[in-house]
């Protein structure tokens, strides 16, 4: 039996089949489109796979809004957003390669099984040629693997673990978001400047893959500048109360607490740390400090007052002043009444980058898209000049160091940008030990 992964809709749109009877399964191959879900009608379908239930539902919703905005802009509706600022002018606002962009949505539930099921339904049922979105690394790696097998492109959403473009990198997958190594590299100089180079750090780390790579990265970069690591403690993912992990910090002799937590974990651990009065303490004649390596707007909102003065890093923030950021914030803000989050921005940028790559390659064929994106340099989507590195499909761009604002004027400027760390400082070699062991493989067009 031949292996085809074309969708029914895709088959139907060839129009070659009418009446009763068996259709040749390799129909699309005859057409010359030797890849999965080759769009044959006047539309092309993208799959937006984001968490819609569970703790990250709000994050997923924000991503979805940005993806819808991107589709509007691609189809020439709205104000065009970043199409006006993007350095590549391949996109005309007439869809992709003249085909109107349609999309389907699904719920990852932030579980790798559910995310794969949802992505599979988009590929098998709806004929999606690209999957985008997600808010955790476990999901990103799982869906990336699926897309590689099925022969579609995966444009990752929020995924911060080193493994996504390290140990688990795949030829069909691309990550625009920054990673744990970059967080460490960007934070270290700022930490040194603000807190000195003679600090003793205590790490609390979410006990799963992302937490470990985050801890490894930040420990390496802070130790390199002279900090001492007092202890690294793993906390169960299911924890809701961190008091029994925070309490030992008090008498550990540490003067910095690093919270390698994300989402609800981070909100609770930070809240608990503030409750125990850590920030009011003076240890080793230094003011006690807390660092949260990975920030997001929704976490900041969830943690409320507690983030005041706490340093962390971000992929992007709406307060940046470059033209791409301004155009995107304006489109998003006018449509939805609030500024976008950094996960929304990454999804928006990813959709445009995919569309642009198809235009430049002249095909939706994953291998063409991969070729067009590898080593591609662009600007105008926010974050300044950006490179999609060919060796591991990781984006290299400036990284933001941010701090919880002392006196926010409204609900949206709770974080302030401390420094924009230039890309050179966060660049690493593709065979860096933290990213070693991966094999990109070759692009898989499916079919």
């Amino acid at each position: 039996m031949s292996k085809t992964t074309v969708s029914r809709r895709g088959v139907l749109k060839t129009g070659a089949v009418a009446g009763a009877g068996l259709a040749a399964p390799k129909l699309l191959l005859a057409d010359g489109h030797a890849y999965t879900n080759a769009p044959t009608g006047s539309t092309v379908t993208l799959g937006f796979n984001v968490p819609q239930t569970g703790p990250y539902a709000d994050e997923g919703n924000d991503e979805l809004l940005a993806q819808q905005l991107a589709v509007e802009h691609l189809n020439g509706e709205g104000d065009g957003g970043c199409l006006n600022t993007f350095t590549s002018k391949a996109l005309q606002g007439n869809g992709i390669l003249g085909k109107k962009v349609e999309f389907v949505t699904g719920d990852t539930q932030t579980k790798s099984d559910a995310a794969r099921a949802s992505a599979k339904s988009m590929i098998e049922k709806d004929g999606a040629v690209m999957i985008n979105g997600g808010s955790s690394s476990g999901v990103a790696v799982a869906v990336q693997g699926l897309c590689q097998e099925a022969g579609v492109i995966f444009m990752a959403g929020l995924t911060h673990a080193n493994d996504t473009t390290g140990k688990d990198r795949k030829a069909n997958g691309f990550r625009h978001f920054f990673n744990a190594y970059m967080s460490g590299a960007a934070l270290a100089p700022v930490l040194a400047a603000e807190m000195g180079t003679e600090r003793r750090a205590y790490h609390l780390t979410a006990d799963y893959n992302w937490g470990w790579t985050q801890e490894e990265s930040i420990v390496a970069s802070t130790e390199a500048m002279g900090w001492e690591t007092v202890n690294t403690v793993k906390t169960p993912l299911a924890s809701t109360d961190f008091s029994s992990y925070i309490a030992p910090v008090l008498n550990s002799g540490a003067d910095v607490l690093v919270l390698n937590h994300y989402g609800g974990n981070m909100v609770n651990s930070l809240t608990n740390a503030i409750q125990f009065g850590l920030l009011d303490k003076v240890v080793n004649n230094k003011d006690f400090k807390i660092v949260v390596p990975l920030y997001s707007e929704l976490m900041a909102a969830g943690a409320g007052e507690n983030i005041k003065g706490v340093l962390g890093s971000m992929n992007w923030n709406w307060q940046l002043q470059d033209a791409g950021t301004k155009a995107f914030v304006k489109s998003f803000g006018e449509k939805y009444g609030r500024p976008p989050s950094n996960s929304a921005q990454t999804c928006y940028a990813q959709v445009l980058l995919y569309a642009d790559a198809c235009e430049r390659a002249g095909t939706f064929n994953p291998c063409g898209v991969v070729e067009a994106l590898e080593g591609y340099e662009f600007d105008g989507l926010g974050n300044g000049k950006t490179l999609y590195r060919a060796d591991d499909h990781q984006c290299f761009k400036d990284v933001l160091v941010v701090r919880g604002a002392q006196n926010p004027t409204n609900a949206y400027d709770t974080l302030e940008i401390v420094e924009v760390t230039p890309v050179e400082q966060v660049t690493y070699t593709p065979d860096h030990p933290m990213f070693a062991g991966g094999d990109l493989g070759t692009c898989n067009p499916g079919a």
Partner: protein, 340 residues
């Protein structure tokens, strides 16, 4: 030494939450014999009573301040809460600040009402149905309640900070001549849970109503035959159980920001606590709550996790297995309750 004391305090604090939830669950589950998977949702609704009150008190009118700009460059809308404009910024601010304690007053009638509605509208029809049906219907209800809250409040946690006077830390080590600081609100939570537990026990032990209910727990049929309307009393007990869960939720808000699925996080754990304590035993539930809380805290210490990796992840379940294998009906369970 002080590390052990500190972890004991943490354990008592965690235990307070477990004990309060387990206490309410035992009233429903261990005595009425209803497997209530919606109990966690009651805890969550309690916490959102505080969130709602905070929102209501913070209801604001907007004035446009031309001197400041919002993120799109339009003039900034400055929000002033109505309470601040009515009572002045000082009194109004204080009211908003004290919204969590205030929510206690507001939550009691609401939670009792929710409990009544649940029992009369739904649970009543399931007393004689198989436990499996009870699981399905209460799980369905829990999902519905959760999703309704998510629809209005979103999935992100919402901070409900304690009043400033009860924020910060206190030095509890003074008694022992040591320097041990501990968050004030957590101490408040512990004392509050003791108060509630004491009140529930006193109510059951020293009032006629409580006596009848206890009699009904022991032998529902006989009490019914004596011409006592046990059903109505059970409805009231359901209301009380809901109120206990709700109050536990209100006071928990300042410890960890409430979110719509916090009930599910506690659900499984509270069942474990109730069963370890022994079916049908209120003291058992409270004892098991504090015991598991303290053991969980001790297992989280670096010493414990380096000795046995992952012990902090499994301690509760490990203890549950050991207890249930050595004591067939949990710590203080009665014979024949939910054993078949």
């Amino acid at each position: 030494m002080d590390a052990i004391l500190l972890q004991t305090l943490n354990g008592l604090d965690k235990g307070s939450a477990y004990a309060l939830i387990a206490l309410g669950l035992t009233l429903i589950f261990g005595t009425l014999g209803v497997v209530n998977f919606a109990h966690g949702a009651l805890f969550m609704i309690g916490a959102f009573c505080a969130v709602t009150l905070q929102r209501v008190l913070s209801l604001s009118y907007e004035t446009i301040d031309e001197t400041q700009k919002d993120f799109l460059g339009n003039p900034l809308k400055v929000k002033t809460p109505y309470v601040e404009s009515w009572f002045g910024p000082d009194v109004g601010g204080a009211i908003i600040e004290w919204s969590v304690p205030l929510a206690l007053l507001f939550a009691i009638p609401i939670m009792i009402g929710v409990g009544f509605a649940m029992e009369r509208g739904l649970i009543k029809h399931f007393y004689k149905r198989p436990h499996a049906d009870q699981i399905l219907v209460t799980f369905g209800l829990a999902i519905v309640l959760q999703e309704v809250v998510k629809y209005f409040f979103g999935a992100n946690p919402i901070q409900t900070p304690p009043p400033d006077a009860l924020n910060g830390v206190a030095n509890v080590g003074i008694i022992f001549g040591m320097d041990i600081v501990y968050p004030v609100w957590r101490l408040v939570y512990f004392l509050f849970s003791l108060l509630i537990i004491g009140a529930v026990f006193a109510f059951l032990q020293f009032t006629t109503f409580g006596m009848v209910v206890r009699a009904g727990m022991a032998d529902r049929e006989t009490v019914g035959l004596l011409g006592i309307n046990i059903d109505r009393r059970f409805t009231i007990m359901f209301g009380i159980a809901a109120a206990v869960a709700g109050l536990a939720g209100v006071m928990y808000g300042p410890i960890n920001a409430p979110n719509y699925h916090m009930g599910m996080d506690f659900l499984v754990l509270s069942f474990v606590v109730v069963v370890v304590g022994g079916m049908g035993s209120l003291p058992g539930a409270v004892l098991a709550g504090f015991l598991l809380g303290i053991l969980e805290s001790y297992a989280s210490t670096t010493w414990a996790t380096t000795t046995i990796p992952g012990i902090n992840q499994i301690i509760i379940y490990l203890v549950a297995i050991v207890v249930l294998l050595t004591r067939p009906r949990g710590l203080m369970g009665r014979k024949g309750v939910m054993e078949d």
